[in-house]
């Protein structure tokens, strides 16, 4: 049993190293992935930010940066999905499955690599945010907790990505998901107060796990939050923990089942 766990970890690390080698061989897609949220930050902050209202007249970046953090976690889904589908389509997944390696390792390696990718992305984005005037006002520990919650969301979305990637099997469907990600991202408190939306939409947006992550991050960073008082808004911290765990509880078994169904 211990030996099996040992091999699973060793194999997982080999798969992680494969992803890191990909970064080295083809750095541009990864770098683009890191800087794309920075572009979003500039677009919304510099172009639209002037028209945005903040609760006490603070810089819009104070509110926007944690929102974009959460959005960047959602965009990470694409990278996961694409990597999984490509491996299935190219037969690499089959090769892994025909090797005497642990099948959990394939997923473990993907997990570590994608979380690393997102962690670097958050670092880049924080740097850009700081340069534009965003600050965190709480303790270092609170800031780390905020980043932890964001990565927890990324972890949950990873399973969504693995599930979709295994289920759709072709690049066209991936495109459809890539387009759908936008409304899902905007239907949240990432950019504006949900109270500015039509009631029913605002309610959906409040319950978007992205909103919980953004609101929880804002409160931990000591940034203003535009959300009007609501039950889910008052429990953002709990929601930012429970939401991703719930997503994981749904999509991890679904992914595992789909992976096994590859042999049907």
């Amino acid at each position: 049993m211990t030996a099996r766990l040992g091999w699973a970890l060793a194999d997982g690390w080999t798969i992680t190293r494969r992803a890191l080698l990909h970064w080295r061989m083809q750095p541009w897609p990864v770098i683009f992935g890191w800087f794309f949220p920075v572009l979003m930050l500039l677009m919304f902050g510099a172009l639209l930010g002037g028209a945005m209202e903040t609760p006490a007249g603070e810089s819009y970046y104070e509110l926007l940066v944690p929102g974009i953090f959460a959005l960047a976690m959602l965009f990470g889904l694409e990278a996961t999905m694409t990597a999984v589908t490509t491996d299935v389509a190219k037969g690499v997944t089959d090769r892994f499955r025909s090797l005497p390696m642990s099948s959990a390792a394939v997923v473990l390696g993907r997990c570590i690599a994608d979380l690393l990718d997102s962690a670097v992305g958050l670092l880049v984005l924080s740097g850009a945010g700081l340069a534009l005037g965003w600050r965190w006002h709480g303790s270092m520990l609170e800031a780390l907790a905020a980043f932890g919650l964001l990565l927890l969301l990324r972890f949950a979305l990873l399973w969504v990505g693995i599930f979709i990637g295994l289920a759709v099997k072709n690049a066209q469907s991936i495109m459809a998901v890539q387009v759908l990600i936008w409304p899902i991202g905007f239907l949240s408190s990432a950019f504006v107060a949900t109270s500015t939306m039509p009631d029913w939409l605002g309610t959906i947006a409040q319950w978007n796990p992205l909103s919980a992550a953004a609101t929880a991050a804002r409160s931990l960073f000591g940034n203003p939050d535009p959300s009007a008082a609501s039950w889910i808004g008052d429990h953002a911290l709990e929601a930012a923990i429970i939401g991703p765990l719930l997503l994981t509880a749904i999509f991890l078994p679904l992914s595992a089942a789909t992976f096994r169904r590859l042999s049907n």
């Binding site: 194999d11 494969r18 061989m25 037969g91 690499v92 089959d94 090769r95 499955r97 025909s98 005497p100």
Partner: protein
């Protein structure tokens, strides 16, 4: 000479619910002895890939039994995977990584230590003439090179059985020749190979034994020569210069033919039983009719003809 059975399959059945994903198996039987190359020959949709995927534990069968080196494919998957190599239809290598990075990675996943994995990668690159392109990303490789890299990757730990699924589909003639010589190289090393192909010449060239698959079932099995002898008469081919002679000959030789006479342009192919007598009689008939043939040959049937006899449908050659 060992007669150990390395692959055994008995009454394997597999039905795809939708029927769109692949061809099913319909009571598939196979026996492969150690150190031989067996060709699994059949047209598209006969179930070749399904058979390989079931034997390689990538797919579960509905019913039946299969063993690799004595290990049950269904219940002892991990043991089976330790003893097989798989070269799939699309070259399953990481296209972003270099040839060497690929081989080192697969070596690590076969649980070789780092130094050993690097050494093995270098050996295999050398053996498959890829040393010069070792540092290039696999996406820059030609089709033949990629297939060779794929072969190398499946040989990292010498497998008891190597499955090679349509290794030359989609390759140009140069690529095919490269892959053929790579497969021959393996066989010299004593690897047992199960090769699927829809190309008759490929099976004829590479395989010691051939199993012909039709609609998920083996319809004939044997050495290429035995198959030809057992399943088709010999053929006497006549090539003439005049179209008129073709019809004339057809009528003349009808009595001699052991089956249906086939005409292809100016070539008349006559199935015959007794080779020498047939040759003499045909020559006499031609002389009597005053027809001067351009060419006259006796030959064994091609696998194409055998296949046509067996399945009633041709195979793209």
């Amino acid at each position: 000479m060992t007669t150990e059975r390395v692959i055994e399959a008995f009454e394997v059945r597999k039905n795809y619910a939708g029927g769109t994903e692949g061809a099913g198996l319909n009571g598939f039987d196979l026996e492969v002895s150690a150190g031989t190359v067996t060709g699994l020959l059949g047209p598209n949709g006969a179930g070749k890939t399904t058979a390989v995927r079931i034997l390689a534990t990538l797919l579960t069968m509905d019913s039946g039994e299969a063993r690799i080196a004595g290990y049950d494919v269904r219940r002892q998957g991990a043991e089976v995977r330790r003893r097989i190599g798989l070269v799939g239809q699309s070259a399953a290598v990481d296209e972003i990584l270099t040839g060497k990075q690929n081989l080192v990675m697969f070596g690590r996943l076969n649980h070789l230590g780092h130094a050993k994995a690097v050494r093995r990668a270098d050996e295999l690159l050398e053996r498959f003439s890829l040393t010069e392109s070792a540092a290039l990303p696999a996406s820059k490789y030609s089709g033949g090179m990629r297939r060779r890299l794929d072969l190398a990757a499946s040989l990292i730990v010498a497998p008891a059985v190597l499955f090679v699924d349509e290794p030359t589909t989609g390759l140009d003639p140069g690529g095919r020749a490269e892959v053929w010589s790579a497969v021959r190289e393996l066989v010299k090393g004593g690897t047992t190979v199960l090769l699927t192909t829809q190309y008759l010449d490929e099976a004829d060239q590479l395989a010691d034994r051939i199993s012909m698959l039709k609609a998920g079932k083996v319809v004939a099995e044997g050495t290429p020569d035995a198959l030809k002898a057992q399943l088709g008469a010999d053929w006497l081919d006549l090539v003439v210069t005049e179209q008129d002679d073709v019809q004339h000959i057809r009528q003349l030789v009808d009595r001699l033919a052991d089956g249906e006479v086939r005409v292809d342009g100016l070539r008349v192919s006559i199935p015959v039983k007794d080779r020498t007598r047939a040759l003499v009689e045909v020559a006499t008939l031609l002389q009597g009719a005053n027809i001067e043939p351009e060419d006259i040959t006796l030959r064994r049937p091609t696998l194409d003809e055998v296949f046509l006899n067996l399945t009633g449908s041709g195979v793209p050659a």
